[in-house]
Protein backbone atom coordinates (compact mmCIF):
# COMPACT_ATOMS: atom_id res chain seq x y z
CA UNK A 1 0.00 0.00 0.00
CA UNK A 2 1.28 3.45 -0.88
CA UNK A 3 1.44 6.53 1.23
CA UNK A 4 -1.49 8.91 0.70
CA UNK A 5 -0.51 11.73 2.99
CA UNK A 6 2.83 12.51 4.53
CA UNK A 7 3.47 15.24 7.08
CA UNK A 8 7.00 16.27 8.07
CA UNK A 9 7.87 18.47 11.03
CA UNK A 10 4.51 20.19 11.39
CA UNK A 11 4.51 23.24 13.59
CA UNK A 12 1.28 25.09 14.20
CA UNK A 13 0.58 28.34 15.98
CA UNK A 14 -2.46 30.05 17.47
CA UNK A 15 -1.24 33.63 17.60
CA UNK A 16 1.99 33.41 19.63
CA UNK A 17 1.17 30.04 21.13
CA UNK A 18 2.80 27.06 19.49
CA UNK A 19 0.49 24.04 19.50
CA UNK A 20 2.49 21.55 17.41
CA UNK A 21 6.23 21.06 17.80
CA UNK A 22 7.41 19.13 14.76
CA UNK A 23 4.80 16.45 14.27
CA UNK A 24 5.51 13.90 11.54
CA UNK A 25 3.27 11.10 10.40
CA UNK A 26 2.13 9.32 7.29
CA UNK A 27 -1.21 7.87 6.26
CA UNK A 28 -1.49 4.79 4.13
CA UNK A 29 -3.70 4.59 1.10
CA UNK A 30 -6.96 2.95 2.14
CA UNK A 31 -6.00 2.79 5.81
CA UNK A 32 -7.54 4.17 8.97
CA UNK A 33 -5.15 5.97 11.25
CA UNK A 34 -6.01 7.38 14.62
CA UNK A 35 -4.43 10.17 16.63
CA UNK A 36 -4.62 9.65 20.37
CA UNK A 37 -3.73 11.98 23.17
CA UNK A 38 -5.04 13.95 26.11
CA UNK A 39 -6.86 17.26 25.80
CA UNK A 40 -4.55 19.90 24.42
CA UNK A 41 -2.12 17.37 22.95
CA UNK A 42 -2.62 18.83 19.46
CA UNK A 43 -4.94 16.29 17.84
CA UNK A 44 -7.47 18.78 16.51
CA UNK A 45 -4.68 21.15 15.57
CA UNK A 46 -3.06 18.42 13.48
CA UNK A 47 -6.28 17.98 11.50
CA UNK A 48 -6.54 21.75 11.11
CA UNK A 49 -2.94 21.95 9.96
CA UNK A 50 -3.65 19.51 7.13
CA UNK A 51 -6.46 21.79 5.89
CA UNK A 52 -4.46 24.96 6.60
CA UNK A 53 -7.05 26.23 9.07
CA UNK A 54 -4.30 27.28 11.47
CA UNK A 55 -0.92 28.95 10.82
CA UNK A 56 1.31 26.02 9.92
CA UNK A 57 4.94 25.36 9.06
CA UNK A 58 6.47 22.13 7.81
CA UNK A 59 5.61 20.07 4.76
CA UNK A 60 2.49 18.11 3.95
CA UNK A 61 2.30 16.01 0.82
CA UNK A 62 -0.89 14.53 -0.55
CA UNK A 63 -0.14 11.77 -3.07
CA UNK A 64 3.39 13.13 -3.29
CA UNK A 65 2.25 16.67 -4.11
CA UNK A 66 2.99 19.39 -1.56
CA UNK A 67 -0.17 21.03 -0.23
CA UNK A 68 1.40 23.18 2.47
CA UNK A 69 0.23 26.77 2.22
CA UNK A 70 -2.72 26.02 -0.02
CA UNK A 71 -5.96 27.68 1.08
CA UNK A 72 -8.37 25.42 2.95
CA UNK A 73 -10.79 25.24 0.03
CA UNK A 74 -7.99 24.22 -2.35
CA UNK A 75 -6.87 21.40 -0.04
CA UNK A 76 -10.51 20.30 0.14
CA UNK A 77 -10.75 20.37 -3.65
CA UNK A 78 -7.86 17.90 -3.80
CA UNK A 79 -10.02 15.35 -2.03
CA UNK A 80 -9.75 15.99 1.68
CA UNK A 81 -13.12 15.75 3.44
CA UNK A 82 -12.90 17.23 6.91
CA UNK A 83 -15.61 16.45 9.47
CA UNK A 84 -14.65 19.07 12.03
CA UNK A 85 -15.33 19.61 15.67
CA UNK A 86 -18.76 21.19 15.92
CA UNK A 87 -19.68 19.32 12.72
CA UNK A 88 -19.32 22.03 10.07
CA UNK A 89 -22.81 21.85 8.67
CA UNK A 90 -24.89 24.84 7.64
CA UNK A 91 -27.47 25.02 10.40
CA UNK A 92 -29.78 27.46 8.60
CA UNK A 93 -29.85 25.48 5.36
CA UNK A 94 -31.99 22.42 4.81
CA UNK A 95 -30.45 18.96 4.78
CA UNK A 96 -30.89 18.85 1.00
CA UNK A 97 -29.16 22.22 0.59
CA UNK A 98 -26.34 21.06 2.84
CA UNK A 99 -25.74 18.07 0.61
CA UNK A 100 -25.99 20.19 -2.55
CA UNK A 101 -23.56 22.77 -1.20
CA UNK A 102 -21.18 19.94 -0.31
CA UNK A 103 -21.10 18.78 -3.93
CA UNK A 104 -20.61 22.36 -5.20
CA UNK A 105 -17.10 21.67 -6.51
CA UNK A 106 -18.19 18.70 -8.62
CA UNK A 107 -19.80 18.81 -12.02
CA UNK A 108 -20.54 15.17 -12.89
CA UNK A 109 -24.30 15.05 -12.16
CA UNK A 110 -24.57 11.27 -12.47
CA UNK A 111 -21.71 10.70 -10.04
CA UNK A 112 -23.22 13.20 -7.58
CA UNK A 113 -26.53 11.36 -7.77
CA UNK A 114 -24.76 8.05 -7.14
CA UNK A 115 -23.10 9.50 -4.05
CA UNK A 116 -26.48 10.80 -2.91
CA UNK A 117 -27.85 7.28 -3.09
CA UNK A 118 -24.80 6.02 -1.21
CA UNK A 119 -25.36 8.60 1.55
CA UNK A 120 -29.04 7.62 1.81
CA UNK A 121 -28.04 4.00 2.09
CA UNK A 122 -25.62 4.70 4.94
CA UNK A 123 -27.95 7.12 6.69
CA UNK A 124 -31.57 6.43 5.63
CA UNK A 125 -32.85 8.92 8.21
CA UNK A 126 -31.37 11.82 6.23
CA UNK A 127 -33.59 11.01 3.27
CA UNK A 128 -36.62 11.61 5.49
CA UNK A 129 -35.15 14.88 6.76
CA UNK A 130 -34.27 16.45 3.40
CA UNK A 131 -36.41 19.57 3.75
CA UNK A 132 -35.67 20.06 7.43
CA UNK A 133 -33.37 22.82 8.61
CA UNK A 134 -30.06 21.20 9.60
CA UNK A 135 -29.95 23.03 12.93
CA UNK A 136 -33.11 21.27 14.07
CA UNK A 137 -31.69 17.75 13.62
CA UNK A 138 -30.75 15.71 16.66
CA UNK A 139 -27.07 15.51 17.57
CA UNK A 140 -26.66 12.08 16.00
CA UNK A 141 -28.42 13.15 12.81
CA UNK A 142 -26.23 16.23 12.61
CA UNK A 143 -23.13 14.09 12.86
CA UNK A 144 -24.51 11.85 10.11
CA UNK A 145 -25.13 14.92 7.98
CA UNK A 146 -21.61 16.16 8.69
CA UNK A 147 -20.14 12.84 7.53
CA UNK A 148 -22.43 12.84 4.48
CA UNK A 149 -21.40 16.40 3.68
CA UNK A 150 -17.75 15.33 3.58
CA UNK A 151 -18.67 12.21 1.56
CA UNK A 152 -20.41 14.33 -1.09
CA UNK A 153 -17.02 15.80 -1.97
CA UNK A 154 -16.00 12.33 -3.19
CA UNK A 155 -12.93 12.54 -0.94
CA UNK A 156 -9.80 10.40 -1.03
CA UNK A 157 -9.11 11.15 2.60
CA UNK A 158 -11.54 11.90 5.39
CA UNK A 159 -10.52 13.63 8.61
CA UNK A 160 -12.76 13.00 11.61
CA UNK A 161 -12.58 15.19 14.68
CA UNK A 162 -14.23 13.46 17.65
CA UNK A 163 -17.16 11.92 15.79
CA UNK A 164 -18.43 10.40 19.06
CA UNK A 165 -18.56 13.73 20.88
CA UNK A 166 -21.80 14.27 22.79
CA UNK A 167 -23.58 11.29 21.27
CA UNK A 168 -25.37 8.37 22.89
CA UNK A 169 -23.32 5.11 22.91
CA UNK A 170 -25.68 3.33 20.51
CA UNK A 171 -25.45 6.15 17.99
CA UNK A 172 -21.66 6.18 18.34
CA UNK A 173 -21.55 2.46 17.58
CA UNK A 174 -23.67 2.94 14.50
CA UNK A 175 -21.54 5.83 13.25
CA UNK A 176 -18.35 3.86 13.72
CA UNK A 177 -19.87 0.89 11.92
CA UNK A 178 -20.69 3.13 8.97
CA UNK A 179 -17.24 4.67 9.02
CA UNK A 180 -15.80 1.19 8.61
CA UNK A 181 -18.15 0.55 5.68
CA UNK A 182 -17.22 3.84 4.04
CA UNK A 183 -13.56 2.92 4.38
CA UNK A 184 -14.11 -0.52 2.88
CA UNK A 185 -16.72 0.25 0.22
CA UNK A 186 -15.94 3.78 -0.90
CA UNK A 187 -12.18 3.19 -0.51
CA UNK A 188 -11.72 6.35 1.52
CA UNK A 189 -8.65 6.62 3.74
CA UNK A 190 -9.27 8.07 7.17
CA UNK A 191 -7.55 10.00 9.89
CA UNK A 192 -9.48 9.83 13.12
CA UNK A 193 -9.13 11.95 16.23
CA UNK A 194 -11.04 10.48 19.13
CA UNK A 195 -11.27 10.85 22.90
CA UNK A 196 -12.58 7.33 23.17
CA UNK A 197 -9.27 5.56 22.58
CA UNK A 198 -10.67 2.04 22.90
CA UNK A 199 -13.19 2.73 20.16
CA UNK A 200 -10.62 4.41 17.95
CA UNK A 201 -8.07 1.61 18.29
CA UNK A 202 -10.73 -0.92 17.41
CA UNK A 203 -11.49 0.85 14.13
CA UNK A 204 -8.01 1.99 13.16
CA UNK A 205 -5.13 -0.02 11.78
CA UNK A 206 -2.47 2.53 12.72
CA UNK A 207 -2.15 4.86 15.66
CA UNK A 208 -0.07 7.87 16.67
CA UNK A 209 0.04 9.12 20.24
CA UNK A 210 0.51 12.85 20.76
CA UNK A 211 1.64 14.60 23.89
CA UNK A 212 1.89 18.39 24.09
CA UNK A 213 2.30 18.79 20.38
CA UNK A 214 4.78 15.95 19.78
CA UNK A 215 4.44 12.37 18.59
CA UNK A 216 5.51 10.14 21.47
CA UNK A 217 4.57 6.78 20.03
CA UNK A 218 3.31 5.25 16.83
CA UNK A 219 2.68 1.86 15.34
CA UNK A 220 0.05 -0.67 14.42
CA UNK A 221 -3.17 -0.17 16.34
CA UNK A 222 -2.89 -3.64 17.86
CA UNK A 223 0.62 -2.90 19.14
CA UNK A 224 -0.36 0.47 20.56
CA UNK A 225 -3.37 -1.09 22.20
CA UNK A 226 -1.27 -3.64 24.05
CA UNK A 227 1.32 -1.11 25.19
CA UNK A 228 1.39 -0.92 28.96
CA UNK A 229 1.56 2.86 29.34
CA UNK A 230 -1.07 3.49 26.67
CA UNK A 231 -3.38 1.06 28.35
CA UNK A 232 -3.01 2.86 31.66
CA UNK A 233 -3.21 6.41 30.31
CA UNK A 234 -5.83 6.15 27.61
CA UNK A 235 -7.69 2.89 27.95
CA UNK A 236 -8.06 2.99 31.71
CA UNK A 237 -7.51 -0.64 32.68
Amino acid sequence: MGVLLEAQGLEAYYGQTQALHGVSFSLEQGGITTLLGANGAGKTTTLRAICNMVRTQGTIKLDGEPITGLATEEVVRRGVGHVPEGRGTFVNLSVDENLRAAAYTRSDKAAIQRDREMVYEYFPILKQRLTQQAGTLSGGEQQMLAISRALMLAPRLMLFDEPSFGLAPLIVQEIFRIMRRINAEAKVSMLLVEQNAALALELADHAYVLETGRVVMSGKASEVKSDESIRKSYLGY
Binding site: E73, F90, A102, Y104, T136, G139, R149, L153
Partner: protein, 301 residues
Protein backbone atom coordinates in the same frame (compact mmCIF):
# COMPACT_ATOMS: atom_id res chain seq x y z
CA UNK B 1 -59.63 58.87 -0.05
CA UNK B 2 -58.21 59.36 -3.51
CA UNK B 3 -55.34 61.23 -1.95
CA UNK B 4 -54.71 58.45 0.55
CA UNK B 5 -54.44 55.87 -2.25
CA UNK B 6 -52.13 58.19 -4.13
CA UNK B 7 -49.93 58.54 -1.07
CA UNK B 8 -49.79 54.79 -0.52
CA UNK B 9 -49.00 54.18 -4.20
CA UNK B 10 -46.19 56.70 -4.26
CA UNK B 11 -44.99 55.30 -0.95
CA UNK B 12 -44.74 51.88 -2.56
CA UNK B 13 -42.79 53.39 -5.46
CA UNK B 14 -40.30 55.05 -3.12
CA UNK B 15 -40.32 51.92 -1.03
CA UNK B 16 -39.20 49.92 -4.06
CA UNK B 17 -36.04 52.00 -4.21
CA UNK B 18 -35.48 51.76 -0.45
CA UNK B 19 -36.01 48.03 -0.75
CA UNK B 20 -33.28 47.77 -3.40
CA UNK B 21 -30.79 49.69 -1.28
CA UNK B 22 -31.79 47.79 1.84
CA UNK B 23 -31.20 44.55 -0.02
CA UNK B 24 -27.80 45.77 -1.24
CA UNK B 25 -26.83 46.64 2.34
CA UNK B 26 -28.05 43.30 3.67
CA UNK B 27 -26.22 41.38 0.96
CA UNK B 28 -22.90 42.75 2.15
CA UNK B 29 -23.89 42.63 5.81
CA UNK B 30 -24.81 38.95 5.94
CA UNK B 31 -21.46 37.85 4.56
CA UNK B 32 -19.15 40.37 6.22
CA UNK B 33 -21.04 41.93 9.16
CA UNK B 34 -20.23 45.32 7.66
CA UNK B 35 -22.60 48.11 6.68
CA UNK B 36 -21.38 49.66 3.47
CA UNK B 37 -21.93 53.37 4.04
CA UNK B 38 -20.80 54.03 0.48
CA UNK B 39 -23.64 51.97 -1.00
CA UNK B 40 -25.71 55.07 -1.78
CA UNK B 41 -22.83 56.98 -3.38
CA UNK B 42 -21.95 53.95 -5.49
CA UNK B 43 -25.58 53.86 -6.67
CA UNK B 44 -25.41 57.59 -7.41
CA UNK B 45 -22.24 57.06 -9.42
CA UNK B 46 -24.00 54.31 -11.39
CA UNK B 47 -26.93 56.67 -12.08
CA UNK B 48 -24.45 59.15 -13.55
CA UNK B 49 -23.02 56.39 -15.74
CA UNK B 50 -26.54 55.76 -17.06
CA UNK B 51 -26.96 59.49 -17.72
CA UNK B 52 -23.65 59.53 -19.60
CA UNK B 53 -24.69 56.61 -21.83
CA UNK B 54 -28.04 58.33 -22.48
CA UNK B 55 -26.11 61.49 -23.45
CA UNK B 56 -24.15 59.41 -25.93
CA UNK B 57 -27.44 58.40 -27.49
CA UNK B 58 -27.98 55.00 -26.02
CA UNK B 59 -31.47 53.90 -25.02
CA UNK B 60 -32.25 53.54 -21.31
CA UNK B 61 -32.99 49.84 -21.58
CA UNK B 62 -29.62 49.17 -23.18
CA UNK B 63 -27.78 51.51 -20.82
CA UNK B 64 -29.26 49.96 -17.66
CA UNK B 65 -27.89 46.41 -18.07
CA UNK B 66 -24.53 47.77 -19.23
CA UNK B 67 -24.26 50.02 -16.19
CA UNK B 68 -25.45 47.22 -13.90
CA UNK B 69 -22.65 45.06 -15.29
CA UNK B 70 -20.04 47.83 -14.96
CA UNK B 71 -21.24 48.50 -11.39
CA UNK B 72 -20.97 44.80 -10.66
CA UNK B 73 -17.33 44.90 -11.78
CA UNK B 74 -16.71 48.06 -9.74
CA UNK B 75 -18.20 46.33 -6.68
CA UNK B 76 -16.07 43.22 -7.19
CA UNK B 77 -12.93 45.34 -7.64
CA UNK B 78 -13.62 47.43 -4.55
CA UNK B 79 -13.87 44.24 -2.51
CA UNK B 80 -10.84 42.55 -4.04
CA UNK B 81 -8.54 45.56 -4.12
CA UNK B 82 -9.58 47.73 -1.18
CA UNK B 83 -11.34 45.53 1.36
CA UNK B 84 -9.49 42.23 0.94
CA UNK B 85 -6.28 43.55 2.54
CA UNK B 86 -8.42 44.71 5.50
CA UNK B 87 -9.66 41.18 6.07
CA UNK B 88 -8.46 40.99 9.66
CA UNK B 89 -8.53 44.72 10.39
CA UNK B 90 -10.51 46.07 13.33
CA UNK B 91 -14.03 47.18 12.52
CA UNK B 92 -13.23 50.89 12.87
CA UNK B 93 -10.64 50.72 10.09
CA UNK B 94 -13.26 49.20 7.84
CA UNK B 95 -15.73 51.94 8.76
CA UNK B 96 -13.13 54.57 7.91
CA UNK B 97 -12.57 52.89 4.54
CA UNK B 98 -16.33 52.93 3.85
CA UNK B 99 -16.49 56.64 4.67
CA UNK B 100 -13.48 57.16 2.44
CA UNK B 101 -15.20 55.32 -0.39
CA UNK B 102 -18.27 57.45 0.14
CA UNK B 103 -16.19 60.62 -0.17
CA UNK B 104 -14.30 59.28 -3.19
CA UNK B 105 -17.40 58.33 -5.19
CA UNK B 106 -19.04 61.59 -4.18
CA UNK B 107 -16.23 63.86 -5.33
CA UNK B 108 -15.47 61.69 -8.34
CA UNK B 109 -19.01 62.18 -9.59
CA UNK B 110 -18.78 65.91 -8.87
CA UNK B 111 -15.44 66.19 -10.63
CA UNK B 112 -16.50 64.28 -13.73
CA UNK B 113 -20.06 65.49 -14.18
CA UNK B 114 -20.23 68.69 -12.11
CA UNK B 115 -22.50 69.58 -9.24
CA UNK B 116 -25.35 71.12 -11.22
CA UNK B 117 -28.60 69.22 -11.27
CA UNK B 118 -29.20 67.03 -14.31
CA UNK B 119 -32.42 65.42 -15.43
CA UNK B 120 -32.95 61.91 -16.70
CA UNK B 121 -36.15 61.36 -18.64
CA UNK B 122 -38.35 58.55 -17.38
CA UNK B 123 -37.87 55.43 -19.49
CA UNK B 124 -41.50 54.49 -19.03
CA UNK B 125 -44.09 55.69 -21.61
CA UNK B 126 -46.34 58.43 -20.29
CA UNK B 127 -49.66 56.90 -21.14
CA UNK B 128 -53.03 56.96 -19.43
CA UNK B 129 -54.19 53.68 -17.95
CA UNK B 130 -56.76 52.43 -15.49
CA UNK B 131 -55.82 53.96 -12.17
CA UNK B 132 -53.43 56.50 -13.64
CA UNK B 133 -55.10 59.09 -11.46
CA UNK B 134 -53.55 57.38 -8.48
CA UNK B 135 -50.07 56.51 -9.61
CA UNK B 136 -47.76 57.77 -12.33
CA UNK B 137 -46.27 55.53 -15.03
CA UNK B 138 -42.75 56.03 -13.70
CA UNK B 139 -43.83 54.93 -10.24
CA UNK B 140 -45.50 51.81 -11.61
CA UNK B 141 -42.38 51.12 -13.64
CA UNK B 142 -40.15 51.49 -10.58
CA UNK B 143 -42.24 49.01 -8.65
CA UNK B 144 -42.40 46.56 -11.57
CA UNK B 145 -38.66 46.61 -12.28
CA UNK B 146 -37.88 46.23 -8.59
CA UNK B 147 -40.18 43.26 -8.23
CA UNK B 148 -38.66 41.63 -11.32
CA UNK B 149 -35.17 42.23 -9.96
CA UNK B 150 -36.09 40.81 -6.57
CA UNK B 151 -37.71 37.76 -8.14
CA UNK B 152 -34.62 37.14 -10.25
CA UNK B 153 -32.37 37.44 -7.20
CA UNK B 154 -34.62 35.16 -5.20
CA UNK B 155 -34.46 32.54 -7.95
CA UNK B 156 -30.68 32.94 -8.19
CA UNK B 157 -30.13 32.36 -4.48
CA UNK B 158 -32.75 29.65 -4.19
CA UNK B 159 -32.16 27.53 -7.25
CA UNK B 160 -28.64 27.93 -8.60
CA UNK B 161 -25.55 26.18 -7.20
CA UNK B 162 -23.65 29.49 -7.14
CA UNK B 163 -26.46 31.15 -5.19
CA UNK B 164 -26.44 28.28 -2.73
CA UNK B 165 -22.66 28.53 -2.39
CA UNK B 166 -22.98 32.27 -1.68
CA UNK B 167 -25.56 31.62 1.01
CA UNK B 168 -23.41 28.88 2.50
CA UNK B 169 -20.36 31.15 2.50
CA UNK B 170 -22.32 33.95 4.16
CA UNK B 171 -23.66 31.65 6.81
CA UNK B 172 -20.52 29.84 7.82
CA UNK B 173 -17.28 30.72 6.03
CA UNK B 174 -15.37 27.93 7.77
CA UNK B 175 -17.84 25.22 6.79
CA UNK B 176 -18.06 26.65 3.27
CA UNK B 177 -14.29 26.37 2.85
CA UNK B 178 -14.53 22.76 4.03
CA UNK B 179 -17.02 22.21 1.21
CA UNK B 180 -14.42 23.57 -1.22
CA UNK B 181 -16.26 26.86 -1.76
CA UNK B 182 -13.94 29.79 -2.54
CA UNK B 183 -15.34 32.04 0.15
CA UNK B 184 -13.26 35.10 -0.76
CA UNK B 185 -14.72 35.12 -4.25
CA UNK B 186 -18.21 34.69 -2.85
CA UNK B 187 -17.71 37.88 -0.81
CA UNK B 188 -16.51 39.73 -3.90
CA UNK B 189 -19.51 38.43 -5.85
CA UNK B 190 -21.77 39.67 -3.03
CA UNK B 191 -20.22 43.12 -3.38
CA UNK B 192 -20.69 43.02 -7.12
CA UNK B 193 -24.35 42.03 -6.82
CA UNK B 194 -24.96 44.71 -4.20
CA UNK B 195 -23.42 47.33 -6.48
CA UNK B 196 -25.50 46.12 -9.42
CA UNK B 197 -28.72 46.25 -7.39
CA UNK B 198 -27.75 49.75 -6.22
CA UNK B 199 -27.17 50.74 -9.86
CA UNK B 200 -30.68 49.68 -10.80
CA UNK B 201 -32.06 51.59 -7.81
CA UNK B 202 -30.05 54.69 -8.71
CA UNK B 203 -31.06 54.62 -12.36
CA UNK B 204 -34.74 54.16 -11.45
CA UNK B 205 -34.84 56.89 -8.85
CA UNK B 206 -32.84 59.44 -10.86
CA UNK B 207 -35.79 60.50 -13.08
CA UNK B 208 -37.86 61.05 -9.94
CA UNK B 209 -35.37 63.05 -7.85
CA UNK B 210 -33.00 64.57 -10.46
CA UNK B 211 -29.38 63.70 -10.74
CA UNK B 212 -26.84 65.34 -8.44
CA UNK B 213 -24.07 64.03 -6.20
CA UNK B 214 -26.22 64.27 -3.05
CA UNK B 215 -29.21 62.51 -4.50
CA UNK B 216 -28.69 59.25 -2.60
CA UNK B 217 -27.90 60.65 0.85
CA UNK B 218 -31.42 60.56 2.29
CA UNK B 219 -32.41 57.57 0.18
CA UNK B 220 -29.60 55.54 1.71
CA UNK B 221 -30.86 56.58 5.13
CA UNK B 222 -34.32 55.27 4.28
CA UNK B 223 -32.81 52.11 2.82
CA UNK B 224 -30.82 51.64 6.00
CA UNK B 225 -33.99 52.19 8.04
CA UNK B 226 -35.81 49.65 5.88
CA UNK B 227 -33.05 47.10 6.35
CA UNK B 228 -33.11 47.56 10.12
CA UNK B 229 -36.88 47.47 10.42
CA UNK B 230 -37.11 44.31 8.35
CA UNK B 231 -34.14 42.69 9.98
CA UNK B 232 -30.60 43.34 8.81
CA UNK B 233 -29.89 39.61 8.68
CA UNK B 234 -32.84 38.82 6.43
CA UNK B 235 -32.89 39.73 2.71
CA UNK B 236 -36.64 39.19 2.43
CA UNK B 237 -37.18 41.23 5.57
CA UNK B 238 -35.05 44.07 4.23
CA UNK B 239 -37.17 44.25 1.09
CA UNK B 240 -40.37 44.28 3.12
CA UNK B 241 -38.81 46.85 5.45
CA UNK B 242 -37.99 49.09 2.49
CA UNK B 243 -41.60 49.06 1.31
CA UNK B 244 -42.89 49.58 4.86
CA UNK B 245 -40.68 52.62 5.38
CA UNK B 246 -41.69 54.05 2.01
CA UNK B 247 -45.41 53.78 2.71
CA UNK B 248 -44.99 54.86 6.30
CA UNK B 249 -43.28 58.14 5.51
CA UNK B 250 -46.06 59.14 3.12
CA UNK B 251 -48.81 58.11 5.51
CA UNK B 252 -47.23 60.15 8.27
CA UNK B 253 -47.22 63.26 6.09
CA UNK B 254 -50.74 62.51 4.85
CA UNK B 255 -52.26 62.12 8.29
CA UNK B 256 -50.26 65.05 9.63
CA UNK B 257 -51.64 67.28 6.88
CA UNK B 258 -55.13 65.90 7.43
CA UNK B 259 -54.91 66.69 11.11
CA UNK B 260 -53.78 70.21 10.38
CA UNK B 261 -56.60 70.76 7.91
CA UNK B 262 -59.35 69.49 10.19
CA UNK B 263 -58.19 70.74 13.59
CA UNK B 264 -55.65 73.40 12.70
CA UNK B 265 -53.07 71.74 14.92
CA UNK B 266 -49.77 71.15 13.19
CA UNK B 267 -47.85 68.20 14.55
CA UNK B 268 -46.14 66.56 11.58
CA UNK B 269 -46.03 67.34 7.88
CA UNK B 270 -43.81 66.77 4.87
CA UNK B 271 -40.85 68.29 6.69
CA UNK B 272 -40.95 65.76 9.50
CA UNK B 273 -41.30 62.64 7.34
CA UNK B 274 -37.75 61.49 7.87
CA UNK B 275 -37.78 62.26 11.58
CA UNK B 276 -40.97 60.37 12.29
CA UNK B 277 -39.90 57.47 10.11
CA UNK B 278 -36.68 57.19 12.09
CA UNK B 279 -38.55 57.43 15.39
CA UNK B 280 -40.65 54.48 14.25
CA UNK B 281 -37.50 52.59 13.30
CA UNK B 282 -36.03 53.17 16.72
CA UNK B 283 -39.27 52.06 18.34
CA UNK B 284 -39.34 48.85 16.31
CA UNK B 285 -35.73 48.11 17.16
CA UNK B 286 -36.28 48.77 20.85
CA UNK B 287 -39.16 46.33 20.93
CA UNK B 288 -37.70 43.83 18.49
CA UNK B 289 -33.93 44.22 18.16
CA UNK B 290 -33.52 41.71 15.34
CA UNK B 291 -36.10 43.56 13.21
CA UNK B 292 -39.57 42.48 12.20
CA UNK B 293 -38.41 39.55 10.08
CA UNK B 294 -34.90 38.97 11.42
CA UNK B 295 -34.54 35.32 12.27
CA UNK B 296 -33.38 33.92 15.51
CA UNK B 297 -31.20 31.01 14.49
CA UNK B 298 -32.43 27.62 15.62
CA UNK B 299 -29.53 25.58 16.85
CA UNK B 300 -29.28 22.31 18.66
CA UNK B 301 -26.13 20.62 19.73
Amino acid sequence: MEQLIQQIASGLANGAIYACLALALVMIFVSTDHINFAQGEMAMFSAYLVWQLLEWGMSFWLALPIVALVSFLIGVSVERVILRPLHDAPILSVVVVFIGLLAIFHSLAGAIWGHTIKAIASPFPNVAFAGSGYIGPHQIGMIAVTILLLAALFAFFRFTPLGLAMRAAAQSPVSARLAGIRVDWMLALGWGLAAAIGAVAGALVAPAVYLEPNMMASILLYGFAGALVGGISSPGGAVAGGFIVGVLENLIAYFGNLLEKTTGVYIVGNGEKLTVALVIVITVLTLKPSGLFGHVTVKRV
